[in-house]
Amino acid sequence: MPTTLDGGGLFRVHSGDVPFVRYLNPEGQPTQPLPSWVKDGQQLVAYYKAMVKAREADRKAIAMQRTGQMGTYPSCLGQEAPGVVYGSLMKPEDVLVPYYRDLPGQLLRGVELSDIYLYWGGDEQGSAGAGYGQDMPNCVPIATQAGHAVGIASAFRIRDEHRVVVITCGDGATSKGDFLEALNLAGVWQLPVVFLVVNNQWAISVPRHAQCGGVTLAQKGAGAGLPCVQVDGNDVIALHEVIGSSIERARAGKGAVVIEAVTYRLCDHTTADDATRYRENDEVHKAWEEEPVKRLQAYLHEQGLWTPEQEKSLQKQITQDIHRAVETYQATPLQSVSELFDYHYAETPKGLRQQMEEMLGGQNHE
């Protein structure tokens, strides 16, 4: 964690480094003594189930896009672990400020899978479901959600509420001023925010090394006076430790933390992208050896915490859940045309009502 040294007078000297946290290596072998909550396996099995469900839900989304049943979709293949962890550790009254690759976390927050499909199926109602609570909708313009995160955290502070904001973003987002401005405020106001940078190595076609000259992305927090930590983003045990302690720290009023979860985007940027244009297959094959589901499965098998029968029954359950979500999504009726106008203002102004009547009446003049 960074520290400050008094350099005398106006001058202060910063020194510090960014720790890297890992408990399971890519083969699922512990690299250091494991925390006690791991022992009975319950939480780890829950993480495993959630990751498998997210992966299958993601696979279904891509399949629907490929068959014309859904629009452009950004897959989360390979980066399921951070989401299932923050999704499990946040309290219901906390607020998630996601980017647009957060399906695993949103499912655990209580968002209906059918709403996630509805959203990517081109319908605003997909951001309206009760499952979102006060969580923010997917944020498409990169890093712009960072300002929202610190604004929401400021609201908690103003009202003396012990709630926490978790904001996610990708590696590319850390290059934007929005991100840095938000870190700066979180540092100076000691806001209850967990900044979770999901570094999946690729911002569409731009690799991590071309994005930023810093050794880590986490260290961007140092300039704002925030603790910074890098964590193996494919290791749910490490993620649980780091995200859990950061949420607790924030809730206790001790301020924000910047976490960089190092993972890999095993998929294209979106279904409209072709990653073979800009990255080598070798790199992707190597990344598959480190992916989070296989890693946790290896550990659970080794510990006798997960059996082939359990796997079979999980797959069956997930298939049913996804089937139901697809049915709900596809059965959702189109909104009425008037709803295109209804939500711009609490009360629709007269001029806008007239335009709506034009649209409904098929007239094309004032």
Binding site: E124, P137, A155, I158, A182, P349, L352
Partner: protein, 324 residues
Amino acid sequence: MSDDKKTLVEAVNLALDHALADDKDVVLLGEDVGTNGGVFRATQNLKQKYGLKRVMDTPLAETLIAGMTVGMATQGLKPVAEIQFMGFIFACMEQLVGHAARMRNRTRGRLTCPMVMRAPFGGGIHAPEHHSESTEALFAHIPGLRVVIPSSPVRAYGLLRSAIDNPDPVLFLEPKRIYRVQKQTLPEAGSRLPLDTCFTLREGSDLTLVTWGACVRECQEAARKLAKGGISVELVDVATIKPLDMDTILASVRKTGRCVIVHEAARSFGVGAEIAARVSTELFHELRAPVQRVAGYDITMPYYRMEDHYMPSCERIMSACSRL
């Protein structure tokens, strides 16, 4: 309310003061709004009165101010953000257009943005570069936003109270050229003015002058002078640029048959063009002359030694009116 007469900026201060007192969800934020009370003193003494949790000096970062205002509003606070000058508001554009204006729509009402963004705007005070712009049209173009511009202390108080009450994002632009030129006795504390109605400031029968903000002063002067020459001018202060109250404007032009629109912003693609289009469409057969615009030119706002050449003067307004 006390008998003290107030300037426009004092009326803004009083509206903020009363809103903070009446509603614990109202908070102020911006650069130098706290201890310093704002560079124009619009937030003077409010931090001292309501504390630093409700009147917040932010870091010097406009994008951040806009973003956090959106975040606060989604939590049900009613944040009133100050952008120190309109020339610095462009860093807020992405937040206003991409988030504030569409939050209600994209979540189908699950989350909303009851926020106000205040900014002093306009030329005529011999300010540094980037301190004199009038770009209200950029914001009026955005679905989901409201744009409000007061032209007197009374309207500043009533419109700002309504803007803060309003459940949607409001851009509240304060014509700084007239911050301190006129004192008025304000109506009863807490009084509101509607956010969808133009104000008819002077009745007349020959010609309608349509304007807003600081230009109301030059238009009033022009109307007085034209009256001496026997031309009866009706003067409409638009005040709520968006949503635009066309009913009042159309009723006036229907009566007078002539319409001159006056604004400080650059002429092309502006609010004046929208009003002219609507008047022409609705009143083509009633118009006795083409709709005229007296506006800033399509040039960069001149630095202050030459800014008078840019501003719509009383002479330019009278000349346009006389041509009809």
